[in-house]
Subunit: 261 residues, 4 copies
């Protein structure tokens, strides 16, 4: 099995190497990850300028590693299109230090990396540990290896894009595995601002999220000490809204028809 | 009506000012847009460093304008959280020079800007012109003003995030308005690469997309000379896959149970 | 006369356009300047990635203008090597909003731009207004035009790199023009620092400089309400120290000779 | 002895760690270096945004290390002003992979780092190996240690800023140590350019330098298989030109006097 591994915390993050260690026994592992932290970049690709790629001394024996001066999406695009002769069998992004839940997946560099695997028809997993300190990586590493094995055995549906989140608990405290849908959060970035005497600056920070904790969601699962597995798609269409907009379209068409030249 | 306007082509792009001109009669318009082209950045936010904001001489009378040294998402976050006392009634992103169709919306800075309006409960519109040159902005500007009017009158459902695409045609050649779902494309970024004697570089470019042109999709509508209006959501859950994964979850739970300490 | 104009405050800075207005009557003027503020970048060139260049609507009639997404040095290199068929007769950098005095010239983007003219054998002028607000640009514009005229007439020595600083005074309050040497300052950047919960950040700011105000220096001239003109060179050799180091060299040579293999 | 070590090739460069290994026996060594290659940035400081600093696992035992997401100058400013309680006894920048000779020192990130030591009154050394591959670091490491020892013993003049260059030769092929002045080169950066369908790009590269090889210069010394040691200063004044400009000043003063209001 050939596995491409990236993350958005950067190549020095311990979670990345925990993942590499867990996956190494399953086959060939290539790490291709950003050289700097990339939280919040989502699916961002670097199109305006070229991206530098440098071989990196892997922390896990038998693993090949590269850093990219770019985003997780850049890393996966470059690795799959150039660094590897043929597409890998699996793209993994993580283990992220911090949750990637609910609508936040749209802003998540971790998911943004996995997305580029999905776009290429490769089974892809984003995996995150829901804490910002005192990381207990063992259970995430185990879940990742078990999922990768199942994908290798062909026992999972395809195409496949999984978003996995774990509470920061030791194995014996985990209370199960839940297939979930994404939860919702109320947004309110905090923007600090100031002045350096010449120009103003504004510094965006994620606020502490306010989640709607509804049974069946990823947020709910993690709160209840369970591993959350959410299958993702890239169809952002709000299907239920389609009929309601037919009237709008008609009014628009009429507005266009009567517009003065 | 108070309208916040951004884009991802940057504050110098003519499409931005065409939008400002179209919206100005409806009320107060604030332009807050990136100072550099930001194509491909998607929903990316700048969290690691502060963002510089500078007043900019607006090209449309009565409009207040700012540039941000960041992404469209940064622009909308800073404008709604700081520059304006209270949230605007509408967030518009565009008129983009180039299509934003199908799964590409996940990578689109234009949609990434509108998304931050949606997250805050503000009706939001991303609008794009499907060409890379010889832009005919008039019809897009008209459609934008008509939609904004309808939103102002409260005649559209809420919450609302619309992705609008127009073929590059004069008004009289438009053959209607279609409510659509997102199409699918086959991905294959082109990555050129080279060497400067010290290190390698890799330059990512979007390839010419290969679309599945299916009736009812945004791609289909534009190909048939129609205005495409797609309501978006931020629920990326692949709902149809949920049952199929129950077995996976069981196997995982068992794998965790029997794991050696 | 063909004049290339750049600055480090960025293409929107009023001082740049005051310079363009002053120089326009002397011949052809091309503005090529950074799109963002570049204070403190010194002679920095962008070598790792390409630089984007975009035509810009000039604020002065008959002037051709470009922005570069890079440094003042980038702007001058690209303009002289590519944008113009043959080298210009004069490179001007400024009018900078803020002093560039003494050893600070090594850190000055304004001087860094002019330096690239000098390296190519083109007479070059860096010009700065010693204030951070309430700019009185008239006298700087006049001095710049007079100097450019003299260079055009061939009445100045070549090669030539001039660093010009003016106090922020109206013409009638200027008390003369002084040929000066660079002054010395005591350094102490202020570094604020903080933490975002994940990583530390450090923000460097120039402190209020403590100058040794010695007669004959640029600092002294400006303090005494005079225009300061300092001819610069790029020989950083500390010539007076050469003899004192001969003993060091001998000891080193001996150290190398006796080094174990 | 307390030694601060930086470079401009980035924290992964082997030359940096060769220097750390050579200096470690002399006392306490702190490495604070850019996380990415910074060639060509000269004395550039990051003033517009804060700089991220992250602890880094040192490759030499007993050494403390940090990466900065910035320039060599940033690294030295932050380390001396914040990371260390009191200023170090020596700042070293290198061992650079590539020459830093003649007027190029103004563009050199290696020298730019050392300069910030000099500005603070700390003896500072920039050291470079004149090759782009097959690096033989041993002699540079030895020269660095011997110089540091002499500085520690107080046997060198102060203030002190040394620019050291070595030919890429094994110890036994070195033909001496020379105290030199900076050489001169003819400049001609190569600028490749292209187009991505939307905008132009320009990529600057240093051309192969054409040096004036004059006896007594650093270029000459290295060509003759010798270690070159050049004492630097930061006085860029072209002293010999001062008298020649008196006439210019007079003409300017007159021009100002007669200027119309």
């Amino acid at each position: 099995m050939r596995i491409l591994l990236t993350n958005d915390d950067g190549i020095h993050a311990p979670g990345l190497w925990e993942a590499a260690r867990a996956l190494r026994p399953l086959g060939r592992v290539m790490v291709c990850a950003p050289d700097r932290e990339q939280s919040g970049v989502g699916a961002s690709m670097t199109l305006q300028i070229p991206v530098r790629v440098t071989p990196f001394p892997a922390q896990v024996e038998g693993v090949e590693a590269y850093t990219v001066e770019g985003t997780p999406a850049d890393a996966v695009i470059i690795a799959t299109e150039v660094l590897w002769d043929s597409p890998p069998d699996l793209v993994v992004s993580g283990i992220n230090q911090g949750a990637n839940l609910g609508e936040d997946v749209l802003l998540s560099g971790t998911v943004g990396g996995a997305l580029q695997g999905w776009f290429r028809g490769i089974p892809s997993i984003a995996i995150s540990l829901c804490t910002l300190n005192n990381f207990i990586f063992g259970p995430s590493a185990l879940v990742l290896r078990l999922l990768a094995q199942q994908i290798g055995e062909g026992s999972l549906p395809r195409p496949l894009l999984l978003n996995v989140n774990l509470p920061n608990l030791p194995l014996e405290k985990l209370e199960g595995v839940e297939v979930t849908r994404l939860g919702r959060r109320s947004y309110a970035e905090v923007v600090r601002h100031g002045d350096d005497g010449r120009r103003k600056w504004y510094w965006i920070a994620r606020s502490r999220p306010v989640w709607e904790v509804v049974e069946g969601t990823d947020v709910w699962a993690v709160r209840h000490h369970r591993v959350s597995i959410t299958p993702l798609t890239t169809d952002l269409t709000a299907h239920p809204l389609l009929p309601a907009l037919e009237g709008v379209a008609k009014a628009l068409a009429e507005g266009i028809r009567v517009a003065p030249d």
